[in-house]
């Protein structure tokens, strides 16, 4: 497999950055990373997950859709879409990589979301195998192997070298473009690192999380479970869990009067908000219990029902660490689990 | 009516002569009223009408003791003393009008006159 030595990694970054924009996770504070546009001298973050997931590059928090100008009686519509430039997102973990396949199912199925498609085509995702999973990780529960991430190009690190394995057409093209900086290397040490990571995964507190009592067909018994009241009583109804989640894909479309025309834009929406899906007759889910239930039912029941069993959650653990009152999907799954 | 001379005096004196309501209080309180050919209120009115020439050539220009009682008492904040000073400067700017020749000084000296007075007089009244 092709590899590059650790100390020449930054040269590779400079090379990529010269051709297209490159985003890599950088430590904002020790142990909390965020994606930043690569500038020379930036150090790749060791820590695990960024607070905001890589979803932001493909489905940004706010995006302009169209602009209207009203002159007296006639309306003039301006198309303000522009072709996205090529960009590379480096250092995506296995769980985030899986989130793209979930988002693709939503945005790229008929009717295709042209904004998302435009960015998806121009973006190359370079994933990285995990070596130090944290206690909040439970990606194995959803069949994700942290040591073998998907994405366009998979990168494996064994301490001194970074091995590159292309997984898709776009990945192959990427590797060819930087082939001159890579050379062949033996992957013996890699196996040993992978084995160590799998060992750690088994020792994680959330390792044994089962998803068999969830899925498309479990709707009735879960929906009417009395436990939702106790589960959702302390939920504040803020949008943190939905805005840090890599697979949340709900958005709201709004108009803004800029003084010289109306700009229509879409922005993330959270099912936890009181005015989520507020329609002419009002809001279908009026109490926090219903909204709380809607969120986890969508992840664990509705999404699998519509997407042949694939769960809406990738086990990245962000909602576990970011919820102000520590309510999360793991607590829901453990409470609602039907044990034989 | 010498237009730019009047403007020049307005600027240097910084006084708006049009504020005068001709109440005569400055003239009433002026201690050297009798020696003056043009009394303070006339002074201001002539400057307002632009008749600067007679003022420059008149003796009373130098009779003003600049005791500033007219400035103190004027109800409209017109400062006649400053107008007098401005006209004096106009006179001083005129070349050839030498009001104090060197010979006049020794007889005018008296021992308790401060040396500074001589210097300023000499600077002011000679060209």
């Amino acid at each position: 497999m092709l590899k590059i030595s650790a100390d020449r990694l930054n040269d590779l970054f400079n090379r990529i950055a010269s051709e297209q924009t490159l985003y890599i996770p950088v430590d904002r504070e020790p142990n909390t990373a965020e994606y930043r546009k690569y500038e020379d001298g930036m150090k790749l973050s060791e820590s695990l997950n960024t607070v905001r997931s890589a979803k932001d590059f493909f489905f940004p928090q706010t995006e302009n859709l169209a602009e209207f100008k009203v002159e007296g009686k006639n309306i003039e519509i301006k198309d303000i879409r522009e072709e996205s430039g090529d960009f590379v997102v480096f250092g995506v973990r296995a769980c985030d990589a899986r989130s793209f396949s979930i988002l693709d199912k939503v945005f790229l199925s008929e009717p295709v979301d042209s904004f998302y498609k435009n960015r998806r085509e121009h973006g190359t995702i370079i994933t990285m195998a995990c070596t130090r999973p944290s206690e909040t990780c439970f990606c194995t529960a959803f069949g994700i192997d942290p040591t073998a991430p998907e994405g366009d190009v998979a990168v494996f690190a064994d301490g001194e070298n970074y091995f590159f394995l292309d997984r898709t057409e776009k990945g192959k093209k990427f590797i060819e473009s930087v082939a001159d900086m890579l050379e062949d290397g033996d992957t013996s040490k890699l196996e040993e690192v992978k084995e160590k990571t799998r060992e750690i995964m088994k020792k994680l507190p959330l390792a044994g999380l089962g998803t068999d009592s969830f899925g498309g067909d479990k709707l009735n018994e879960l929906f009417n479970s009395p436990k939702w009241a106790e589960l959702s009583e302390s939920c504040l109804g803020c949008g943190t869990c939905t805005f840090v989640c890599p697979t949340c894909q709900c958005y709201d479309i709004r108009d803004f009067n800029t003084g010289n025309g109306i700009r229509r834009f879409r922005c993330w929406d959270s099912c936890m908000y009181s005015d989520f899906t507020k329609m002419a007759h009002g809001n279908p889910r009026l109490s926090q219990l219903e909204r709380f239930r809607q969120r986890f039912m969508h992840k664990l029941v509705y999404f699998p029902a519509n997407n042949d069993g694939e769960f809406g959650c990738v086990g990245c653990g962000r909602c576990l660490s970011r919820c102000p009152v520590s309510l999360n999907i793991v607590k829901v799954m453990k409470t609602l689990e039907v044990k034989e | 009516m010498n237009k730019n001379l009047k403007d020049w005096i307005d600027i240097t004196s910084g006084v708006n002569v049009r504020k005068c309501m001709r109440c005569g209080k400055c003239t009433a309180t002026c201690p050297s009223y009798n020696e003056m050919e043009y009394h303070p209120h006339q002074f201001v009115y002539m400057v307002e009408r632009g008749e600067i020439e007679p003022l420059i050539n008149s003796e009373s220009l130098y009779k003003c003791l600049t005791c500033f009682v007219c400035v103190e008492r004027c109800p409209r904040n017109v400062e006649p003393a400053k107008v007098v000073e401005a006209v004096r400067l106009a006179a001083v700017r005129r070349q050839g009008k030498n009001h104090l020749s060197a010979e006049q000084i020794p007889p005018a000296l008296d021992d308790d006159m401060p040396q500074q007075a001589i210097v300023t007089a000499f600077r002011k009244y000679t060209k």
Partner: protein, 663 residues
């Protein structure tokens, strides 16, 4: 869909001169919702208003925007016009393109552009106007007159004449004010007391009028038609009901050395006193700063001699609360303090007096019984010099910028009286201009000059210096003769400027009326509404509104009374419909609004609300009493959730205006 009519006024050339009204009308025609946009010469004229009425009927307008002068001028005119055409008056908006656009900009392009923007802002606001109906609030049929001078008395008499209850609050022990101190009045020279005391007696005997003498207004709450006033009746240590005014106590009181303010301190009075013989109410008053009994408990002569047993040393300030429909301010004037004018030696020469002091010196009830004597050595003055405009017409920071209007006339009166009574006395009057505007005024002044040959000299007095021999050297300029005069005078009379009474400023704060920089009350409109203040229900009578003489004061007093009667005769008045209202669904019941409301118009109640899933909950919500609310809007900002909004100036309306302006 809104159907808006835009009318742009030329206002003759006032607007049309610097604003291209045709371009404005044309530009505003394209705004959304505008169905008709035209300009006209005089929108406020009869035909202008008909233009609006016809347009409303013809185009079935739902909103009218008039780009014209300030809404404070003709908002009501256009509202009435719209109402008569069937459109709710509060669907009319005014864009001020005169006072705030055409009059203050010279460049036509920028003025026109600004007028268009102001027009757009008014259109944006009218889109969101809601039809409002004004509420009725009851009128208390009782008036309050603050100040018992001739102005207050005349106003009270006229209001009582119309059959309404009136209270007069006078801070001195007796009503009468400055006029009681005056000897004769110009131009007819009739004696001030003779024409004033009958009115004072009439006021005291009129059962509709109650007089609160020796009292002050301490607090005013409420609004037009519904004022609640607290009157502080200062302790006079004499029971008004018992005292017959016999004056025995005033003779027996041992404390003689009290400077008599009524005679401007020229002579002394006793600690217990009646200001002057014809005082109304004729009741003694004890001066707590001098009475030995009140200060250190030793004496009590007055209570011993008083046959009626009216003296009561334990009396304290009493507070009376009363409701009124209208309030008339008649606080009058005072001469200014002359201590800053050292050039006139007023503060260190007793023979230099002000005109009011001269009035007392010449008055029969004055310090020396009516014969004019020099205060210093009580000798007959042979030469008197009058100095005009002392402290008036000067902006040197010490005096007042305005002309005090009455000095020229009363000085001519004094000169004439002195010359008539003491022909041997020479009278000089130094003046800047003699101003005698009025009926028989100039003839009066010419009589003083021609018949009584008073020496009127044009020129100001520069310096007054008392000499060792008791005479006073007056150094002045004679501008016409062009000389500097030195007059050897026995007395100098200064015509001091007059300023509003010191109690006017705190009173204005209580009444929330406006005042100008000289502390005179600001009238609603200098030419068209001189006797009303901008605050509804508060009227101005006499010198509190500006310097004026007795004829004008009485005229204004009756005008103010007429205005007050106009208000009191209504059973209820329509009040401002632009009041606040709270949206119950969004109200948190946190009572932030209740705390900022200056009128206490907000109350709370627990109401039941339908909550999700067919449950109900009781919530504490605010409700605004539209009759009490005056529409200031403080609550709308104190309310975090925006539940509280204001009719006529709602959040969305103001934001729409902001958007239109910043477009």
């Amino acid at each position: 869909m809104q159907r808006i009519g835009v009318f742009v006024c030329h206002c003759g050339t006032n607007i049309a001169a610097t604003v291209d009204v045709k371009a404005v009308a044309e530009a505003l025609g394209h705004e959304a919702g505008v169905v008709i946009s035209q300009d006209y010469q005089y929108m406020c004229s009869e035909s202008g208003q008909n233009l609006v009425k016809n347009a409303i009927k013809e185009h079935k307008l739902t909103g009218v925007v008039v780009c014209s002068c300030s809404p404070r001028m003709h908002e009501n005119t256009f509202r009435k016009a719209a109402a008569s055409a069937g459109l709710n008056p509060y669907l009319v908006e005014i864009a001020n393109i005169r006072e705030q656009c055409s009059w203050i900009h010279k460049d036509i392009a920028s003025a026109t552009e600004k007028a268009i923007i102001l027009g757009r802002a008014a259109i944006a606001k009218v889109h969101l106007n809601t039809p409002l109906t004004s509420m009725e609030s009851p009128v208390v049929k009782r008036a309050l007159v603050i100040g018992g001078g001739i102005a207050g008395i005349q106003t009270a008499l006229d209001i009582a004449e119309a059959g309404f209850e009136v209270d007069i609050v006078e801070k001195e022990p007796t009503i009468g004010g400055k006029m009681a101190q005056i000897d004769k009045t110009f131009p007819t020279l009739d004696c001030a007391a003779c024409i004033l005391t009958p009115k004072m007696v009439e006021a005291s005997q009129n059962e509709k009028i109650t007089i609160h003498s020796f009292s002050e207004v301490s607090d005013v709450k409420g609004f037009v038609g519904n004022f609640t006033v607290t009157i502080k009746k200062k302790a006079r240590y004499v029971d008004e009901t018992k005292c017959t005014g016999c004056g025995l106590c005033t003779e027996k009181c041992p404390m003689k050395k009290v400077p008599n303010e009524f005679n401007m301190g020229l002579d002394n009075r006793r600690a217990v006193y009646i200001p002057f013989a014809q005082a109304v109410p004729k009741v003694a008053t004890i001066d707590p700063n001098y009475c030995m009994m009140l200060k250190n408990g030793k004496c009590g002569v007055c209570s011993k001699v008083c046959s009626a047993g009216a003296i009561d040393y334990k009396q304290t300030d009493r507070f009376v609360e009363q409701k009124y429909g209208a309030i008339v301010v008649a606080t009058g004037f005072n001469p200014i303090k002359l201590d800053k004018y050292d050039e006139f030696a007023y503060s260190y020469c007793p023979d230099v007096v002000t005109s009011l002091e001269l009035e007392r010196l010449m008055n029969a009830a004055g310090p020396n019984g009516g014969t004019l004597l020099r205060p210093s050595d009580k000798t007959h003055p042979h030469t008197i010099v009058f100095v005009q405009c002392v402290g008036s017409r000067c902006d040197d920071g010490k005096g007042k910028q305005y002309c005090s209007k009455i000095c020229c006339m009363y000085t001519a009166k004094h000169a004439m009286l002195i010359r008539e009574k003491y022909p041997d006395t020479e009278v000089y009057v130094f003046y800047i201009d003699v101003r005698t505007p009025g009926k028989n005024f100039d003839e009066f002044y010419r009589r003083a000059v021609e018949q009584y040959n008073v020496h009127y000299i044009k020129g100001m007095v520069g310096k007054v210096s008392p000499k060792a021999d008791g005479k006073i050297d007056v150094q002045a300029s004679d501008l016409l003769a062009g000389e500097q005069l030195h007059i050897n005078a026995d007395m100098v009379v200064l015509a001091a400027a007059i300023e509003p009474d010191k109690t006017a400023r705190p009173l204005a704060t209580m009444l929330t009326t406006q005042m100008d920089t000289n502390d005179f009350f600001t009238e609603a409109h200098p030419k068209l509404r001189p006797v009303e203040s901008a605050t509804a229900g508060i009227f101005l009578s006499g010198a509190c509104q500006g310097p004026k003489d007795i004829p004008e004061t009485v005229a204004q007093a009756s005008a103010a009374a007429a205005k007050a009667i106009g208000l009191l005769c209504k059973n209820s008045i329509t009040c401002n419909p632009c009041v606040a209202h709270s949206d119950e669904l969004m109200c948190n019941g946190c009572s932030a609004c209740e705390k900022v409301c200056p009128y206490g118009a907000i109350t709370y109640q627990d109401k039941e609300f339908r909550m999700p899933n067919r449950t109900t909950a009781v919530r504490r919500v605010a409700s605004v009493n539209p009759a009490v609310c005056q529409g200031c809007g403080a609550c709308t900002v104190a309310c975090p959730s925006g539940a509280m909004d204001l009719n006529g100036f709602s959040n969305s309306q103001i934001m729409a205006e902001v958007d239109a302006i910043c477009k």
